[in-house]
Symmetry: none
Subunit: 552 residues, 2 copies
């Protein structure tokens, strides 16, 4: 069968996406996820419609044990959560293996077990015999199946192993099949394989294992690629064209070294260009915002030049391009940006911008009319603020306040005349002793209040002083607390002179909301976000506005 015939045959076929952002993605230098971060991400992936989500390696990492426990309290809607683990130790029984105990305790339907495919890694890495490795694979899979688990088998270093010793590599897969694995996943662990070799090897393996991939209950194939050769996406596509139906990757291609296959690139390629079914059409239209949401959670600046989902992926510069695109977008765009929830980035036609504002307001329960001049005013204000570095994707409470201002419906609860923050640090060999103090002057009901408070740092001191001043007028503030605080340096190459964007998430115990501030002075940026957070909370408690759930 040629690639082309195969491609036609595969059209309309389902691809099972398998996300490993929480495990392999988190290996990227600079990513350090808290338990709360992991919970937020897993729910977003579930909402996106990803069928398999790898949650972590419960035996190797205490945080991952907690994660699987925590997840029982807020179960997923549709996705299967998968626990990850290696095969048992050499010459030990499965019953006593502490790693396997931990993976069973995670109590998931699906587990992924990785084993060695490359003879070199068995003899030099595991320091055991080739036969023992086959037994480790078969027995581990069989043990987990006997405990009621469905097993995905990750064949580590598959392509290197197959090139070094094809017979042995094939034997490892046969062991996994004998053990009862449902899926065999080809892992290009070192990321060194090129697409044409992937095609050749996958096709040889299908024929050597004599697999009937069409059979409903038969063993199925998956692919897991890394980007060390810059071809992780192409490698995954090459495998799919040879009959692979599970595609593993991470959101935004996070992962160690050069990253994993980027699902945000793979999904639109497979679905829009090759006709495979990965996500529901409506879920696909949320790809770009979801990619950005997850980059906010992991606190890495989104890549503006990322295919499909980057802010500049559909940017048009030249005048010819712009007018041609206006006439017929396909002249200079490979797909319609809306299909993946992205947008063309020229001077956005007023119409498109307006409908964005209207749609966003509607999602907040505010009805706007596109002929209302307020609508245009909001759009203008939004553009100005975004130009200054504000971003409302993660700060919908601030956006709602902005709309209320434009509608002249934002009640003046208090106004701040000014504040001062003072930090005094005594440095010593052993420890710095730091002390932060804030004074603030607030006007409420025409009364001027002057308050002072201390804190762990300048922002904390400021927050305390503000609450101290306002709580006598708005006792509900006593219930508020800050649940998240994120700082992003914009244009970080400007060093300490760069602009800072601060996101503050607040809660009253029932709802949570996020506000934003921007300034070259981090204290000023934090202050803006903290003040809007308190204002929004008061309005919410007074039922002046409807609760929105941000970050859920």
């Amino acid at each position: 069968m040629t690639i082309k015939d195969n491609q036609t045959a595969m059209r309309e076929k389902k691809i099972w996406l398998y996300d490993t952002t929480l495990r392999d993605g988190a290996q990227r230098e600079g990513i350090s996820l808290s338990l709360t971060d992991k919970i937020k991400i897993v729910h977003k992936l579930d909402e996106m419609g990803i069928p398999f989500i790898e949650g972590g390696w419960p035996g190797a990492n205490p945080k991952d044990v907690q994660f699987f426990w925590q997840l029982k309290e807020t179960p997923l809607k549709q996705a299967q959560i998968v626990a990850f683990c290696s095969t048992r130790r050499p010459h030990q029984s499965c019953d006593n293996d502490p790693m396997l105990k931990a993976i069973l305790a995670a109590n998931t339907h699906w587990v992924t077990i990785f084993g060695k495919s490359w003879d070199l890694h068995v003899t030099e890495g595991l320091k055991t015999s080739l036969e023992e490795n086959l037994a480790m694979i078969e027995e581990t899979v069989a043990f987990l199946v006997s405990q009621g688990r469905k097993v995905i088998y990750d064949a580590e270093h598959w392509f290197d192993g197959y090139q070094a010793n094809p017979d042995y590599a094939i034997a490892t897969l046969k062991s996994a099949i004998k053990g009862g694995a449902k899926w065999l996943v080809f892992c290009d662990t070192n990321g060194g394989t090129l697409p044409h070799e992937i095609s050749r090897i996958v096709s040889e393996v299908v024929s050597k294992l004599n697999l009937n991939l069409e059979e409903e209950e038969g063993v199925k194939l998956g692919i897991h690629t890394h980007n060390d050769s810059g071809t992780a996406v192409a490698n995954a596509i090459a495998s799919v064209l040879e009959g692979v139906t599970m595609v593993q990757g991470t959101i935004n291609g996070y992962g160690e070294r050069c990253g994993n296959a980027n699902l945000c690139t793979l999904i639109p390629n497979l679905q829009l260009k090759l006709g495979y079914q990965c996500l529901e059409k409506e879920d696909l239209t949320q790809l770009a915002p979801n990619s950005r949401y997850i980059s906010e959670i992991v606190n890495l600046a989104p890549d503006d030049h990322a295919p499909f989902v980057g802010k500049s992926a559909f940017a048009h510069k030249g005048g010819i391009h712009v007018s041609a695109v206006a006439k017929n977008p396909l002249t200079y765009e490979h797909i319609e940006p809306e299909l993946v929830g992205n947008e063309r980035k020229i001077v956005i036609s007023d119409q498109a911008g307006l409908s964005n504002v209207i749609a966003k307001a509607k999602s907040l329960g505010i009805t706007l009319d596109k002929n209302d001049p307020t609508c245009r005013e909001i759009l203008q204000k939004l553009k100005n603020l975004e130009h200054q570095g504000y971003q409302f994707e993660g700060a919908e409470a601030s956006f709602e306040l902005l709309i209320l201002s434009a509608l002249k419906q934002r009640k003046k609860l208090f106004s701040i005349k000014g504040f001062q923050v003072h930090c005094d640090i005594l440095a010593s060999e052993k420890n710095n002793c730091s002390n932060a103090l804030a004074t603030i002057k607030v006007l409420v009901d025409e009364k001027e209040l002057l308050e002072v408070a201390e804190g762990n740092g300048p922002v904390s001191a400021l927050d305390h002083a503000l609450r101290k001043a306002l709580v006598q007028f708005y006792p509900e503030i006593g219930q508020f607390h800050l649940t998240d605080y994120k700082v992003r340096i914009l244009d970080s190459t400007a060093g300490t002179d760069a602009k800072t964007r601060v996101l503050v998430e607040s809660s009253n115990g029932e709802s949570r909301w996020t506000t934003v501030g921007v300034s070259t002075n981090i204290i000023d940026a934090s202050y803006q976000a903290v003040v809007e957070g308190i204002e929004y909370g008061i309005l919410l408690t007074k039922a002046e506005i409807s609760p929105i759930s941000v970050g859920n």
Copy 2:
């Protein structure tokens, strides 16, 4: 011929690299090159051994006219500089075309002319007839040949055009051949084509044009890809496997939207994995430093996760990986990093064992013995600090200072007795007016110095005050500047009481180094990182320590 046979036949064959960083690469948002920048880059590309360098479009851009003039004063050593232009205007003669006059005035041996391959672009974009477009291509090429130029013909929108109307697309190439073009370059202008389609189309075209690619004097083929599908590199490789011998791309993949094919990824793939001859072996070993040099010139932060040349491309985190790599690097590395001028990076993290510490110290030029108690002391200190929230993955300068301390080799250059930071913010309806002031007391050579400075924010003020105090003792500080500043809130759910980790990257114009600070008080955390950054820079300038290449 199957791909595999073809691949074998092509081995040892020369690939002609064609760099378009100065033209297509400069289209990337955020890049704005001065004439001096362009001159620096072109000489670096020449030194790298790139045979064809596209300098710009002299007819469309006055800066490019100047560039070609300027270049005559400092001619290139080996590369051909190429001027770029479109075909003549519809229904005009070549003699009178101002664009063609400008390209002749650039006075290069080689010129690249782009023309329309896609019928839709001829009728809708150029608003002319399909026949006239063929005449434009043939006459423009023939005119330039008659003026003594060698012509490369870029077939714009080749793959879309061929899919829409293959016969017409083939006719455009025949016109270019009739005109006398030496090279035909397939451009995937919108970046929407996937590798298997590239393979199919290139192979069909070779057969339809009945080309003998082995013939010395015959027409040759080139490829120019964009990364909108995330497959620009794979697409170029697919074409080469079908007989294409010119590969166009940019350094670091710069280019509009999602960028062009990244030459820093393509070159090692073609040369080290597929056996093609792109660069001299010694020139290949300069690829990583050259990639970083050019990112400095264009003033974009290097992508640490870029294949082959990123500083994390060969980073190893886990203890198992580290000991395996020490024994046999190929177990976890697809190529030897030294071949492309990169280096292995042992990531220091809380998974670190003694072997990590020793390996890391060794890469910094410090030999530690694992039986030396200092070694265990460093590991213990590292674990304590990581428990407090420090992270040395991205802060190797701080790690080196830590090792020097443990070895009692860290000279006391200055000590800080304390400092105060003061922010005064006057809030108003329209704008906050913010003001930051820092005072610092430093002890150098038993002299106590008291200094004060202002800044855009508290950290900037503190940095200014510290430099002001120290520069009289260490004038090299005058060359230092902060090149990056990152803030990460640890356990962000603790709100503004959370711990803050700050990473500061400094530069002296030659090397860059990163330091870290942690505190609940962001000012204190920033202070620690800024102070260590200055200390490390002074030691580096005094050659007390070896320059480590962090981000170089």
